[in-house]
């Protein structure tokens, strides 16, 4: 025998159609379920159109649309208002009608609900209680009765009515709980109205826009979205972005977090400062600034370098690339960045900075900084010992040359001869060890410049072919002086912060509506109007209960309650027997 776990469907609450009169017909129409469902379907259908057709399209999107669907379609949709659907009269009208519908049908149903809420029978007769769906009776002994009634009072949390006399007639204990659950539906309907009103307040009295602020700059103007697209709005204060920070996930260029340090300036005074990030906006005078996006300005970004002098002081300097600068300890310098200046923070592989130091004597010292390899500028060496060798590796002569000191090239069978001088020294050129540069001026020939590496004596022989004279560095005597090391620690990218700016005085109203809705849903689905009667007459106890919804859950509670009541008798008898 299958257990019947279903429940009866409820009686309709509406008062049904009234008789007579146009007003009544109109009232019925506006309060009808049919209207409600039709409105919901209409709102759904128009909303769907809004998801398929781009809303408030910018010029680019409009062009794209016309390209794909033709100008005729565009004009037709524009005339129908499809590009700004949610502000069209027919959409707003349907929302207004929904509100009316909710109010009318709620007013319609309310009296009946109230009646049922109040309609509590505290002392129904025996037959009534016995006929209920949940009803049980058992017997107790006379002397138990007083104790039993006290026990029942405790369990039900109600007291016997004043002056009730168990010997005179039946005594009732009546528990009436959860009546508020009958009104759940009104809370839900009210909440929808509140939410719609809140959204209207926001639309009428609020605005939404955005603005990009470059680091270090400020503004008081934002650009509006939506209906007033492109229109500027002047704020009653200024907002300045002092700093923008971007954190990426290690090894990638994916953003992990980005923050802006913002300051509000009103009447020349700084009134509020906050660092905002996504999901954590800044609020001032009803206007909220949300961290929405960011970008590189493409200009003003600086290279972050660490300048170290001979193992002593370290200074961090920020220098703009590709510009002639005066830098302490270096003099006239230009830092040439290898790639696109607007993307220095990127992770491309061709990523280096060429340092050009322009010396007073007209020469240029050059080195390259890679992210993992610093550039080193050492003082010129005191002297360099060079072996001049012939093509077969035999020593021609040994020269001890001072820095920038002109030396004679051997002539004779190594004609044409000429001059050479040591012009540059780098204690560690790109990890290959000490290197010197030599300017060679052959007699009557073209000058050229070569690099020699102390750790690779055969370098010149391998590098230049068919020469009469090859240079092999033997020793380099360093001089006292400062060695300057430049490492590349990062890029101080000049960002702009992308902010969304909104004012919506309707937001708290909407949240209030949501809370009311949750309350209404809870009352409607998870609680019910439960009545319990415990009637004692003589030695008979009759327990009955009713609920207006969800009998299954109620049933188990009811049975448990009866058990507890019965428990009293059993305990009493036990203590008696002892």
């Amino acid at each position: 025998m299958e257990k019947d776990i279903t429940e009866k469907s409820g009686q309709p609450l509406s008062s049904g159609h009234r008789s007579g009169g146009v007003t009544d017909a109109v009232w019925d129409f506006f309060g009808s379920l049919k209207l409600a469902i039709s409105l919901l379907i209409f709102i759904s259908a128009t909303s769907v159109i809004g998801t398929v057709i781009p809303q408030n399209p910018d010029d680019e999107t409009v062009m794209g649309f016309i390209q794909e669907h033709g100008e005729a379609s565009y004009n037709r949709f524009e005339a129908l208002g499809f590009f700004d659907l949610y502000h069209q009269w027919y959409f707003l009208l349907s929302l207004a009608l929904l509100m009316v519908n909710l109010i009318v049908c709620s007013l319609d149903m309310f009296p009946r609900t109230m009646k049922r809420y109040k309609d509590a029978k505290p002392e129904p007769d025996e037959k009534y209680l016995k006929g209920m769906r949940f009803s049980e009776s058992f017997k107790i002994k006379g002397k138990e009765r007083e104790g039993f009634l006290a026990h029942a009072e405790k369990i039900l949390s109600v007291k016997i009515p004043q002056g009730a006399d168990p010997d005179a007639g039946p005594v009732y204990l009546f528990s009436n709980k959860g009546g508020l659950s009958r009104f759940g539906v009104y809370f839900v309907h009210l909440s929808i109205i509140v939410i719609i009103v809140g959204s209207l307040i926001g639309t009428v009295f609020g605005f939404r826009g955005g603005v990009n602020i470059a680091e270090g700059t400020k503004t008081d103007t934002i650009y509006l979205f939506g209906q007033q697209k492109g229109r500027e709005l002047k704020l009653p204060f200024e907002i300045r972005c002092d700093d923008f920070e971007l954190e990426t996930y290690e090894g990638t260029s994916q953003a992990k977090d980005f923050r802006s340090a913002l300051v509000i300036i009103e009447d020349g005074k700084e009134v509020l400062s906050k660092t905002i990030e996504v999901n954590d906006p800044l609020r001032y005078k009803g206007i909220t600034f949300y961290q929405s996006s960011y970008g590189e300005t493409g200009q003003g970004s600086k290279l972050q370098l660490l300048l170290e002098v001979s193992g002593g002081e370290k200074t961090e300097i920020k220098v703009p690339p590709n510009q002639m600068l005066e830098v302490t300890k270096l003099g006239k310098v230009m830092f040439a960045y290898s790639g696109d200046q607007g993307n220095m923070g990127g992770h491309s592989s061709n990523h280096f900075v060429v340092v050009n130091i322009y010396k007073e004597d007209g020469t240029v010292k050059q080195d390259i900084i890679y992210p993992e390899k610093p550039a080193i500028f050492a003082p010129p060496p005191e002297s360099v010992t060079l072996r001049l060798e012939d093509a077969d590796g035999n020593l021609i002569k040994k020269v001890v040359a001072g820095f920038n000191e002109e030396q004679e090239l051997p002539g004779g069978r190594f004609s044409p001869g000429g001059k050479f001088k040591v012009t540059d020294y780098n204690p560690d050129f790109q990890g290959m060890g000490p290197s010197i540069s030599i300017d060679i001026h052959p007699e009557g020939g073209k000058s050229n410049n070569i690099k020699l590496f102390k750790n690779y004596p055969d370098f010149d022989r391998k590098n230049r072919k068919d020469q009469k004279i090859y240079f092999v560095p033997e020793e380099i005597k360093e001089s006292e002086g400062e060695t300057i090391t430049l490492s590349w620690t990062g890029v101080d990218t000049k960002y702009f912060t992308g902010l969304q700016v909104a004012k919506d005085p309707g937001v708290p109203v909407v949240w209030a509506g949501c809370i009311i809705m949750f309350l209404g849903l809870y009352l409607s689905f998870f609680s019910s109007h439960r009545k319990i009667w415990v009637r004692t007459e003589g030695n008979t106890v009759l327990v009955a209960g009713s609920t207006h919804r969800n009998p299954m859950a109620f049933e188990s509670r009811f049975r448990a309650l009866v058990e507890k009541l019965r428990q009293f008798s059993d305990d009493f008898r036990q203590t008696e027997d002892q």
Binding site: T6, E7, P12, S199, V278, F525
Partner: protein, 429 residues
């Protein structure tokens, strides 16, 4: 430590998948054969599965860090969704002792796990800043459970219609219409106008992750390719399914029952060709090493679900009599569908509201008529209509079962369809 946890989580998920597979088979056989032992073992195995599943989810969460919950990408959301379905179903089974529904609910849970298994990127991705919010946790958690409850409600409504002797055939025809429409709309009608089915090409970025082209540092910026001969099969399937749909309508309107038989045959033929097309997708993916399932997960999932539904309907139609006999009473099914929706509806409300709160703090507005937001509202409306039809108009039985199923179609569209056909703020999930 985190890596071992993640690995362990993955292993547990594999075992869970197997457990659910076994449970699905057991429930299906239980539907066919009268044997309490089968039903009980199905429940036991699925319970073990869900416990392992829960452990796996917790481990995954711990290994990713407390502020990176395990439902922020497609893979995770599918795993979590599968968990929700099984957990909610087992709760309903325990409370109301209806085991036969398992045969209808578990294939969907299994499909979710199976699709997840096909996703190549099972790693723990990096969270975008917009997703780093506690409201995210609540929003997605409630969404998965709400969707799970809607799935169970759908199962009961579906069972109701079968028991109510609704023409299964009619359901198949409607499915044919929907599938044909999906095939027609795909990629701006590329299937029906060019006979080509496109998928996005993917490539590995320098950080080792899969990206849709253009990938940073990638040489070849090809964006979409037609996949093998899939387009031609799908075109043929589209023709057959449309023929089936139209013929059935004609048989209904023109009262020519003989046409219904033709319509049915056309549908089965269309299903067969569709199956070949789907197999060809796998062939195409294996032939081109820059195509992955993850290239177009939503499109493939949607097509897969439609295919699965057609197959299910075809099987049920074949074994109709015995299934009808085994199903519980109609009023039980009707009631259980109602109970499921009573749970799902408030949860859906919470989903919409938490989403609005999150949107407000991230983007400055609680409602933007974004496709996902709009369709979730439409879903909410449909189930609101369901509740009003029951309580106010006293409807029950077949009519509300149909509303419940329409609601479920809306749920599927909200979860997947929006991602396939419309784009918006939700494009990262």
């Amino acid at each position: 430590m985190e890596e071992t946890l993640l690995k362990l989580s993955g292993n547990l998920l594999n075992i869970t998948g197997l457990a659910y597979l076994a449970a699905t088979v057991l429930y299906l056989v239980y539907l066919a054969k009268r044997s309490d032992g089968l039903g009980l073992s199905a429940t036991i195995i699925s319970s073990i599965g869900v416990v392992l599943h829960t452990a796996a989810l917790v481990m995954r969460w711990v290994s990713a860090g407390i502020d990176h919950p395990p439902f922020t990408n497609l893979y995770e959301s599918l795993i979590f969704f599968g968990w929700g379905i099984v957990a909610f179903y087992l709760y309903m089974e325990w409370r109301y002792k209806i085991r036969l529904a398992g045969a209808f609910v578990f294939p969907i849970a299994l499909a979710a796990m199976g699709i997840a298994a096909m996703t190549p990127d099972k790693g723990i991705g990096n969270l975008m800043p917009a997703l780093q919010s506690n409201w995210l946790t609540f929003h997605v958690m409630f969404a998965s459970i709400a969707y799970a409850a809607f799935v169970v409600a759908f199962a009961f409504s579906f069972m109701y219609l079968i028991k109510d002797k609704v023409q299964i055939r009619a359901m198949g025809i409607i499915l044919s219409g929907i599938t044909a429409a999906t095939l027609a709309i795909c990629d701006k009608a590329s299937i029906i106008t060019k006979g080509k089915f496109y998928m996005n090409v993917m490539g590995y970025g320098s950080d080792g992750k899969l990206y849709m082209a253009p990938v940073p540092d990638m040489q070849d910026q090809l964006q979409v390719v037609p996949v093998h001969m899939v387009g031609i099969f799908f075109l043929l399937a589209f023709i057959l399914l449309t023929v089936s749909f139209v013929t059935y309508l004609a048989s209904y309107i023109g009262s020519k029952p003989s046409l219904a038989e033709t319509a049915n045959l056309a549908m089965l033929a269309g299903l067969a060709v569709l199956t070949i097309g789907m197999i060809d997708i796998f062939i195409g993916i294996s032939l081109n090493d820059r195509l992955y399932f993850a290239s177009n997960p939503y499109k493939l999932i949607l097509l897969g679900l439609e295919w699965l539904s057609l197959v299910a309907v075809a099987i049920i139609n074949w074994k109709r009599e015995s299934i009808i006999e085994r199903l519980p009473e109609r009023k039980t099914l009707d009631f259980l569908g109602y109970r499921s929706i009573i749970v799902a509806f408030p949860l859906m409300t919470i989903v919409i509201v938490t989403g609005a709160v999150w949107a407000n703090s991230a983007w400055g507005t609680y409602w933007q008529w974004d496709p996902k937001e709009t369709w979730s509202l439409i879903t909410w409306f449909i189930y609101a209509i369901y509740l009003h039809a029951r309580v106010m108009a006293g409807w029950s039985g077949r009519r509300v079962a149909i509303i419940s199923i329409i609601g479920f179609v809306s749920v599927v569209f909200t979860y997947l369809g929006v991602n396939v056909f419309l784009s918006g703020l939700h494009s990262y999930a």
